[in-house]
Amino acid sequence: MSTTVVSDVPTRSVVGMADALSVGVEVVGDGVTDRRIGAVAPARGIAALARRLESAGVGYWVIGAERGESTHAGTVTLDPSLVATIAARHSAALGLVVSAAGHRDHPYNLARRLISVDHAAHGRVGWLALDFDHSIALNAASDTWTGAVLDTTHTDDAVHAVRTLWRTWPLESVVGDTAAGVFADVTQIRRADVRAGYAISGPLNVPGSVQGDLPVWRQATRGSAVAPPGADLVVVEDREPVPDGTPVVVRVRALHSIAATLERVAANPAAHGVLLRVAPHVFDHVVERVLPAARRRGVINGPGEGTLRERLRLPVPDSPDLSGHAAVFETVPNPGGRL
């Protein structure tokens, strides 16, 4: 399989809006403690940051991405799913991507919490699936539920388990037919029967997302020509090789000469978007000057309309296909309805 390097692709002179880059932003510290961005109380800091990102036209905010990096251990941080929940109540269009690993978090709890945040945000939530969570690893170097080594294969299993659980209880099954006394059409509810890496019977106890599935981001494996499975978008570091098969977003950490960097990334036909890692001291400059200027030049796109998946123009994947899975409820309820 061939790989291309972002900087080797010839530059296109004009970038049309249809090809303009999607924009994700990672803010160091997530606004939890930094007074330059937010306020003293963490919830007010998060709310202020969400509003500023939204008014700057940013497509999505990736929350807690640094947790996947060993340099992050010891930094003050809060659970990204709760940060996203607060942000959801203070925004209407901003995408919210939650970073989380199947490390101390079991996939059942992860699947449920991510869907719950997505319901709070009416379909604006995604998941950056990490291999390892350095913020709460403490002494645990393996999966605390299964003992598995925390490599990309383990993340493959965790992503597959979560995505399978998301499809076990379709939201459309909730009919609420008061005349017939039927709350949900249970013929649509299927077992998860996850067996790879975890043993999970399912179904999930919360109905699925209004956006089909939440979009999933995964980090490309350095040096691998193959995109990690189960991802809608793959994150590659700027100037690293691009794997085949899945749209990529290019993470840009060096924000000097950022205008030129955006042009260079936009010239790569494999690039779906850009993911900017922004430190608090350059936050104002990036959201008030760099992004508006790049949008005027047609290099980056605006927030768009609809769910996060619709804004990013990502189709709902075919897999995992649960049509062959057994229905959970083959009989009518007992009169007490208890399971």
């Binding site: 449920r112 709070a120 539920w145 709350f183 059409d185 249970v186 399971l339």
Partner: protein, 441 residues
């Protein structure tokens, strides 16, 4: 305000248990909310705003990581509780937030991190209701080939709570040195990536009335969500938990006893009765007897409704370690049936399918029973369980709360900034459990 006990004035506590759209099985058919409300955090925010308008102490959420009710019949608790409560925190100012999270189906470090964060995001309004969870479907969701028996679950719960509290105490210490815990279930070395909350760290609530549960509550909990059907049993269990608290060096008032109270309220007795009958008519045939059978662990179908419940169904549980349902719920039903010699039909009416006490009546009736139990020393307050949301909560807030205020039993404004101050009078925790302190020294 409140009642005077041993020279101290104690205030009545009123929480609302938002059990999706109502405790009643047919609540979704009567609610003005849409059927998808149970999967919308915004719905819980709306209920929280009604509760805050009524100056209630806290919003309570039950939970377990598996479907609990047959979805053809009714909604279950669905959304993850820390997400619901973060949504509520973002749009309320005073209301306490109590979430049920299992010690069997969570990792103690991840949960300690997330819940302390929720306490920080709510500026000191969160309490953790610790449960060990008995649910075979939950076991299947977490790859447990053999479901852990009751003693194993409680040993894990005790160690889990020790680890979580030690991590929280460590986070509250300015020079956090980290914990070093080696136990039967967990090895945890290090510190959480955050500091303390405005109330230090979350309060602890314990639910359930098994003997192990009451000991855990007296030793470590700030509040207990209990199930009591009978005033005499309520007084006895209240004293027991308070005695355990005193025996472990705490004040009697350090642990609040809050039984569940299911309410069906009408402006007149006749209206309340009509509301009750309209709800009952929605139930599938055999619903209530099936529920009571599940609580007792005995099949009651086929027994005559208008004769006393046969005594052989009410004896001791043969093997408590293996009993598949709640020992606390079963004990409270058995006590009620035996003390009043109830027929099966009467038992079903008193029990109402949920294990908690039911009051069907006017706002004055509801205020009277709350006052009676509070002043008798059977309760420090209640976990209210309205039949149907939102109107079952609205009538409580608009009609019952003013009566309790007029009687000097309930607050007329919020005065404390954290849940800890409201429940305990202390701004910060008075101390971690002895085992955790030893490790921190």
């Amino acid at each position: 305000m409140g009642r005077r006990l041993m020279g101290l004035t104690e205030n009545l506590i009123l929480n609302v248990n938002v059990l999706n759209v109502g405790i009643h099985t047919g609540s979704w058919q009567l609610s003005s909310e849409p059927p998808t409300a149970f999967a919308d955090p915004g719905y819980y925010v709306r209920m929280a705003k009604i509760a805050e308008r009524g100056l209630l102490d806290a919003l309570f959420l039950a939970d377990g990581p598996a479907l609990r009710e047959h979805p053809a019949l009714r909604p279950s608790q669905a959304l993850e509780p820390s997400v619901i409560l973060a949504s509520v925190a973002a749009e309320t100012e005073h209301l306490g937030l109590i979430g049920t999270l299992s010690s069997t189906f969570n990792d103690p470090v991840e949960l300690a991190h997330r819940l302390l964060g929720l306490d920080q995001l709510s500026e000191g309004r969160f309490a953790w209701n610790v449960v060990t969870t008995y649910s075979l479907p939950a076991g299947g969701n977490f790859g447990l080939a053999d479901y852990p028996d009751r003693p194993t679950r409680y040993r894990r719960a005790a160690e889990f709570v020790d680890v979580v509290r030690a991590l929280w105490q460590d986070a509250a210490d300015a020079g956090a040195r980290g914990i070093d815990h080696q136990g039967e279930f967990f090895t945890v070395v290090g510190s959480l990536p955050q500091g303390q909350s405005p109330q230090g760290y979350p309060l602890l609530v314990q639910a359930g009335g098994s003997p192990q549960g009451r000991e855990l509550a007296g030793r470590a909990a700030d509040a207990v969500f209990s199930a009591e059907l009978d005033l005499g049993a309520g007084v006895e269990h209240y004293r027991h938990v308070k005695d355990v608290a005193v025996a472990t060096g705490r004040r009697r008032s350090d642990v609040k006893i809050l039984p569940g109270l299911i309410t069906t309220i009408g402006s007149t007795a006749a209206e309340a009765q009509r509301r009750y009958e309209r709800q009952s008519a929605l139930l599938p045939v055999g619903h209530d007897i099936e529920r009571l059978s599940q609580v007792l662990g005995e099949d009651l179908s086929g027994y005559p409704l208008d004769e006393p419940v046969p005594g052989h169904l009410l004896g001791e549980v043969r093997d408590p370690a293996k009993f598949g349902a709640s020992l606390g719920f079963r004990e409270s039903v058995v006590r009620l049936v035996e003390s009043r010699g109830l027929t099966l039909r009467e038992a079903i009416r008193e029990f109402s399918g949920a294990g908690h006490r039911v009051v069907v009546g006017t706002p004055v009736d509801v205020a009277d029973t709350i006052e009676q139990w509070f002043l008798a020393g059977a309760a420090d307050g209640f976990n209210l369980m309205p039949d149907v949301f939102p109107d079952g909560l609205e009538i409580f807030v608009d009609e019952v709360v003013p009566i309790l205020q007029a009687r000097g039993l309930f607050r007329t404004e919020y005065t404390e900034s954290t849940l800890r101050e409201r429940f305990t009078g202390y701004p910060l925790p008075t101390g971690a459990p002895a085992s955790a302190r030893a490790r921190l020294a």
